[in-house]
């Protein structure tokens, strides 16, 4: 152990107080000044919300908008009875509504989550 060379002498100096310290720029100020960084934050918020909107409305269009096409292409479906109620009446007169509420609930939850994440991101910086 004794044959190891002695550690090199280190000189300790004071921090370079004279040099310009990088100023902390908050995200809100970046957004206000419409800098590229601010724009990136705004665009990412917007595109998350657009993705969510497309997903929810696309789901609705597929499920509801598909029904008339289904009735036209497979006419036999129209005459199917479920528990004594014709299928089109059961779907359009009843089951559609819980579906719409579920989609709405999902949207509100996700949209609020996106906004919370955005707020945290902006506040943390």
């Amino acid at each position: 152990m004794t044959d190891r060379p002695a550690p090199k002498r280190v000189r300790i100096t004071s921090p370079r107080t004279a040099a310009a310290r990088p100023r902390r720029v908050t995200v809100t100020r970046e957004i206000d000044a419409q800098t590229e960084v601010g724009e990136v934050y705004m665009r990412s918020l917007l595109s998350s919300q657009v993705r969510l909107a497309v997903m929810v409305l696309g789901g609705m269009a597929l499920m509801l908008g598909g029904l008339p096409a289904l009735f036209a292409l497979v006419p036999a479906v129209r005459g199917v009875d479920v528990l004594g109620i014709p299928l089109p009446w059961l779907l359009l007169g009843g089951l559609v509504y819980p579906l719409l509420i579920t989609l709405g609930w999902f949207f509100v939850r996700q949209a609020e989550r996106t906004e919370r994440d955005f707020t945290d991101l902006v506040d943390r910086s």
Binding site: I31, D32, V56, L57
Partner: protein
């Protein structure tokens, strides 16, 4: 039908409406109170109020009548009027609230910074508002006629008078309470009689609506029960066009949008809309059952052209006696609540636009709003006297088609697409409004009666909405220099949550801007 019980019911609804309105008088003092209840209404109150305001004559009486006549295809009306709120929730609710605008023209101004687009939007709000007020007055006339044998002009006059008194006394604050009360009244008025009707129907051995007795000119039961089978031209096109008009037209109705300004913030606006979705879903389960029961007990109304009265006629036919009269009176009360609430909402929003965009140069503040309310009600009332023969359903359809072809593209593109320009918005609004308006006017005038041309004119939304969107997008892309100079700041305003402290610009709605110029009496 015993008319005494019905008249008492109508009088009660009117008195309660006015009493709640008077209560609001002591609460509302400033211009801001009159327009948007100072944005301090909680989500549950606000949602009940939106439900109350939205469920009009068409929902309370019209849907059951349409289902009685044409069957399964008509189920898309209540579905579309509910799904319209999901579309509104997803695309419009929170950003619109965050825009800080009071009215649709305000939104056009804050987003596009163009006085011209603002002016065109104002005209469209008034046109759509009047188109929608007209059938409310007509429906009131028909109801009062059926319930009490009154002449047809009287119902509209009664509704107009009550609405005006209530609006003049308190503006939107009192309207909010009145509307909330009227949602629950309408739900009760439809639900309670239905329980009795279904019990009697069950005791009768649950006869199937498919086998109900109808005249030879009506759609026969086996076709009535199937979608796409009621015998109209191009039923698949008509169904999709109806879906587009109702899903997208809801957001463009002026009295629907004005409600969103009363939420405290964007998050509350979303939550309110979700509650509205629940309230509407509960309500819209009921008219379908009335329509189907009508097939069993009131098939003759189809041939006599009185299908719109099926909801009011069923209690006396199924239950009968004093009980039947009382249930009928409850339904009449609900129907009147429907006319009153929708008319109040429309009057407030049309009056808001008239006072801010036309009268403001001469009379401002509360006095201007009151004068505008008188104008907003008087014009459709006179139109109602002049055009009593135009079918209610056609006028309602026209309002939805025009709204879907004008304000829907303006709102959706304005909120989500930076590159929308004032020239593009203007071109789209004019194209959509003229195409949809002309189509339905031609259809009502009866210039065509069969084939593709009739289908395209009767249900124009499937082509006018895409055309309006396309024109707005193409013209905007062709005029990139006309982009609003501060569009980035406006996007921040529309989309960032309220807790984030950013610069949202200093735009103020015109009503506040102008009223703050005048010295205000100190508040105690």
């Amino acid at each position: 039908m015993n008319s005494t019980a019905s008249i008492v019911a109508i009088a009660l609804v009117a008195v309660v409406t006015l009493a709640i309105g008077a209560l609001g008088l002591r609460l509302s003092r400033t211009t801001s109170d009159f327009y948007v209840a100072s944005r301090s209404v909680g989500p549950t109150w606000n949602a009940s109020a939106i439900g109350g305001e939205y469920l009009s004559a068409g929902s309370f009486l019209g849907i059951a009548g349409l289902i009685l006549v044409a069957g399964a295809d008509m189920l898309w009306y209540p579905v579309g009027w509910t799904a319209g709120y999901l579309v509104l929730l997803v695309l419009v609710a929170a950003p619109l609230r965050r825009s800080g605008a009071y009215t649709l023209p305000d939104f056009a101004e804050v987003r596009l910074q163009s006085p011209m687009v603002r002016r065109v939007s104002s005209v469209l709000v008034v046109v759509i508002g009047w188109l929608y007020l007209l059938p409310q007055f007509q429906g009131a006339g028909i109801t009062l006629g059926v319930a009490a044998g009154a002449p047809e002009w009287l119902g509209g006059l009664v509704v107009a008078a009550v609405v005006l008194l209530s609006v003049l006394s308190g503006g939107m604050r009192s309207i909010t309470f009145v509307q909330a009360f009227q949602y629950w009244l309408k739900l009760t008025a439809l639900l309670v009689p239905l329980v009795f009707l279904l019990l009697h129907w069950h005791a009768d051995g649950s006869p199937s609506p498919v086998d109900g007795p109808v005249g030879s000119d009506a759609v026969p039961g086996d076709a009535w029960v199937l979608p796409l089978a009621s015998g109209i031209d191009h039923p698949l096109y008509a169904t999709y066009s109806l879906i587009l008009a109702t899903f997208l037209g809801t957001m463009g109705l002026p009295h629907v949008l004005v409600r969103f300004y009363t939420n405290p913030d964007g998050r509350a606006a979303r939550r309110t809309t979700l509650i509205v979705l629940v309230l509407l879903s509960v309500f819209y389960l009921l008219p379908t059952v009335y329509g189907a029961l009508g097939r069993v007990y009131a098939g003759d109304l189809i041939s006599s052209g009185e299908s719109d009265t099926v909801v009011l006629a069923l209690p006396s036919r199924i239950v009968g006696g004093t009980m039947g009269d009382l249930l009928a009176a409850l339904l009449v009360a609900g129907a009147f609540a429907a006319f009153l609430s929708t008319s109040s909402g429309l009057t407030v929003s049309v009056a808001g636009v008239i006072s801010q965009d036309a009268l403001i140069r001469w009379v401002g503040g509360v006095a201007g709003f009151r004068l505008a309310a008188v104008v907003a009600v008087t014009v459709p009332l006179l139109l109602n006297l002049a055009t009593r023969d135009v079918a209610i359903a056609n006028v309602v359809g026209m309002a939805f088609a025009v709204a879907a072809s004008t304000f829907c593209p303006l709102l959706v593109l304005g909120i989500w697409w930076r590159r929308l320009t004032d020239v593009g918005a203007m071109a789209g609004l004019l194209t959509g409004g003229l195409l949809a308006g002309t189509a339905v006017v031609l259809a009502i005038a009866g210039t065509v009666d069969s084939g593709w041309s009739a289908a395209l004119l009767l249900q124009p939304a499937a082509w006018t909405v895409p055309v309006a969107f396309a024109v707005m997008i193409v013209v905007s892309l062709a005029t990139p220099r006309r982009m609003a100079p501060d569009v980035a700041r406006t996007m921040v305003r529309l989309h960032t949550p309220e807790q984030v402290e950013v610069d949202r610009g200093d735009w103020q709605p015109r009503a506040t801007r102008l009223s703050s110029l005048r010295p205000r009496a100190p508040r105690r």
